[in-house]
Symmetry: C2
Subunit: 506 residues, 2 copies
């Protein structure tokens, strides 16, 4: 090929992936709309329309055109003459293709239908706590996941194939090491604060706090984090999320519980952390498959950084507690800051992951990880899940669910087929603690910045070290470059030990 | 072809048009979002994404696959063995195809870019009243429209080709006849009320009326019209519109002027009329090109029916005035119903079409129609527009714009290339008066229904005679079947004469 031909092929490839990004933007908006206020009678047809566009995306990602682009651009003469961003986009498309290359189309189609039905059945099964109605679905989903690992290919452990979908490059070996360190540290710490700690008083948290006031406060907090309302908006939903439609349109959703303001405040900060990530990806990556988060874990590192390392820090509240008091209907008037701070950091064993505190959260993930690994490995079957779940709850938390609705059926992930996803939650937390440690080398005045409400340097550091790269860097490379280390659980353990020893006055 | 093969082709055709409808739903949502709250930094990329999907729709509508479907399904053996709804969909697709069949693709592409630029330039030209900056755009647009009429083909008058795009089957001959009757009746009526009429007092209309209260009232009115909030929602925008994403999701937008509550109230009723139409199209037509309004004129007949024949009727306010009073901040407390009714029906010459009253509205349309026809016919050139516009304003209204921003530049239609569109506004009004006349034959208790706020029979009559057909019937057939007549301006003239003689106490 002549240089001119190479440039021409490169441009056609970039146009092609740009077109895919346009379809993704449409589907993203349709999903956002479905979850924030689409009228219910239009939902069925909307679902079909989104399905049509999603199939088209799948088709474009795996088409003969895509394969031709990749093979043409990967010839050594082309490779040397295309831009770096194109090279990374090519590699990303290749990874994407690999996921599906060996999946028999009929099996994939049947699986999409299966998980749609399974998700639909799940709501009711969770409500009634009836595991048996979910069992046939889970059996088929797990059977598919086992086959999928084989189709995709893996080294050492079939679960590695699934991990890699959510956290490229991550292996069972690493997760085992990190999670076993966390377990060894957190389980005894939780026991200790329960037995020897001074439990914070929390009842004053649950007084009525009008929605509109919560919303105003949430908006102020988002602004102080550096969230750009000219490139996003805040809406209400049932299961909060953030979504980047493009880097100039990254939306946050939240929900308001008038009896527990923490839901909205910490939920908004969490989703705001996800949104800051997507707002600050380099515009150079716009319209390529690299304009997104590097992985689920890196994404979660951003939401958890803001939720926990900023939002649950005493100095953040030195600045924001007076503001919160202004919005609240008097419930904090007689509560000193220290008492408020300890209350919002109360921790202890609980049954439900999404309601868990920052200390015990990882244990919920470890439980799921251990079960998933055994299921994919064939050491365990779907039918064994309820018993195994409850036993592990007892082992890790010292409590047992009274029914499967508050146990094995609580999350939509398995009914939806998302095996390999859970570890990224805890891993993101580990990353966040590592990033915090690295950040304070550059910003030793971190605590003071929080106290003064000057969060821009914090955001800028994250943009420089994480956000801007989008998907152009691999997650483990981002962590290595930003922190100078591989994944390391020590910083999180240190943080939790120090913080909870103080909060519980050990 | 065997019956089985025919059935199979029919199904593939229905799947194909269903897919097109899914793309249209996505573009519709993207447009709604852009106009109701999308953050401004995301607009540029959103526009590109919507452009990509729109091109795809154009491509599917004019593709070789589409042509093959049409020719296969139109063979006499296929035609007799497919469903009626498929036959109508085939005819609709054929019409659609005809519009573009002979348009040279390069010319079309250049024209799309031209009108996008022209629309962008228009905002500023309107603001500054500078016609010269728009002139080169208008010259090129008019040149294209003249060629387009030739490519599409026409009988008698090239403007017929353009009319037919918005009002299938309509001709200059009909419009000339209808509009000349209207002109002859309305011009002297307007003069008479100005000279001899008792002008209603209106200053009490313009007191501050809080937005939230206006919104609550607007919602009540929409509900009383039978608008289904489970199949729609109400949002705020700058230029109000209604949009049917699917029959279960038909959205209304409005705007609130705190100094003039009429903007929101009559605007919401107007858009609500459009929305009722789309909510009540037969679900049998879902996913076909027939699931939409029959024409711009029929659509406008629905919005104007509700806005004028219901919303500006004294009996509507017998029911709703007390409700409005409750929401208002005291501004109507001392105003009797009769005085209020006359005030919201004040009429007279004005420069701006979108602010015109129901009496003079048609004259604004007639002015545009006469100019468009002369432009397309080659009797006039774009450069002649300002002078011709101002002369016609003088002839029809007795007033002259002080600059082109409040004259020839006021509407986006011409800069956007929408020649042939304007007549449907006035035609819709004529249809609405005809429908009203036919309706009271079946519902002689019409006035009483309004007084009691029982609007369901009114909505049901419109659903039965208009809404349910969607695009499966031609506009002129709908009017013929519903009213037993061709287009007839008499009913509108009678309505306006009677009403304004009373309001102005002639």
């Amino acid at each position: 090929m002549t240089i001119e031909q190479i440039k021409e092929t490169e441009q056609r490839f970039l146009d092609y992936v740009n077109k895919i990004s346009h379809y993704e933007e449409a589907v993203g908006l349709m999903t956002w709309d479905l979850r924030t206020g689409a009228p219910k009678k239009g939902i069925a047809r909307r679902g079909e329309a989104a399905g049509t566009l999603s199939s088209e995306i799948f088709h474009m990602n795996t088409s003969e055109s895509m394969k031709a682009f990749l093979s043409e651009l990967k010839t050594s003469e082309a490779w040397e003459n295309i831009q770096e961003v194109t090279r990374r986009a090519v590699l990303e498309c290749e990874e994407n293709l690999k996921k599906f290359e060996n999946v028999p189309p009929e099996e994939f189609k049947a699986y999409v239908i299966l998980t749609a039905r399974s998700e639909a059945a799940w709501e009711e099964a969770k409500e009634s706590g009836d595991f048996q109605t979910m069992l046939p679905y889970l059996e088929q989903i797990i059977a598919y996941q086992r086959k999928y690992a084989g189709w995709k290919g893996f080294k050492d452990h079939p679960y590695n194939a699934l991990l890699d979908d959510y956290e490229p490059g991550l292996t069972v070996e690493t997760v085992d090491a990190v999670f076993s360190r966390l377990k060894q540290a957190i389980v005894p710490l939780v026991e200790k604060i329960q037995k020897e700690g001074a439990a914070p008083e929390t009842n004053f948290l649950f007084h009525p706090f009008p929605k509109e006031k919560q919303e105003s406060f949430s908006r102020e907090v988002l602004k102080s984090m550096g969230y750009d309302f000219e490139a996003g908006r805040l809406d209400t939903t049932v299961h909060p999320f953030a979504v980047g439609l493009n880097t100039g349109d990254v939306r946050v959703t939240t929900k308001y519980d008038e009896k527990d303001f923490r839901t909205a405040v910490f939920g908004t900060i969490h989703e705001g952390g996800h949104a800051l990530y997507e707002q600050n990806i380099s515009p150079q990556l716009d319209g390529t498959p690299l304009s997104g988060g590097a992985s689920m874990g890196i994404h979660e590192s951003q939401s958890l950084f803001w939720e926990n390392f900023v939002g649950r820090h005493i100095n953040f509240w030195k600045k924001h507690y007076p503001v919160l008091k202004n919005y609240a209907a008097g419930q904090f008037d007689d509560i000193p800051l220290e008492k408020f701070y300890r209350a919002v950091n109360a921790a202890g064993p609980s049954l439900i992951r999404i309601e868990a505190d920052e200390l015990t959260y990882c244990l919920h993930i470890i439980l799921r990880y251990e079960l998933e690994k055994a299921l994919i490995n064939g050491e365990m079957e779907a039918a064994d899940l309820p018993e195994a779940w409850n036993d592990k709850m007892e082992e890790l938390f010292g409590i047992r669910p009274s029914h499967d609705g508050e146990g094995v059926l609580q999350d939509v992930h398995w009914p939806g087929g998302a095996f390999g996803y859970f570890p990224s939650y805890a891993l993101g937390y580990v990353y966040a603690a590592q990033l915090k440690h690295a950040m304070i080398q550059d910003l030793p005045e971190f605590d003071k910045l929080l106290e003064e409400g000057r969060l821009k340097p914090v955001k800028d550091w994250l943009t420089e070290n994480v956000h801007k790269h989008g998907k152009a860097e691999k997650p483990l490379d981002i962590i290595q470059k930003a922190t100078g280390e591989k994944v390391n659980a020590d910083y999180l353990i240190q943080y939790l030990t120090d913080k909870y020893s103080a909060v519980y006055k050990l």
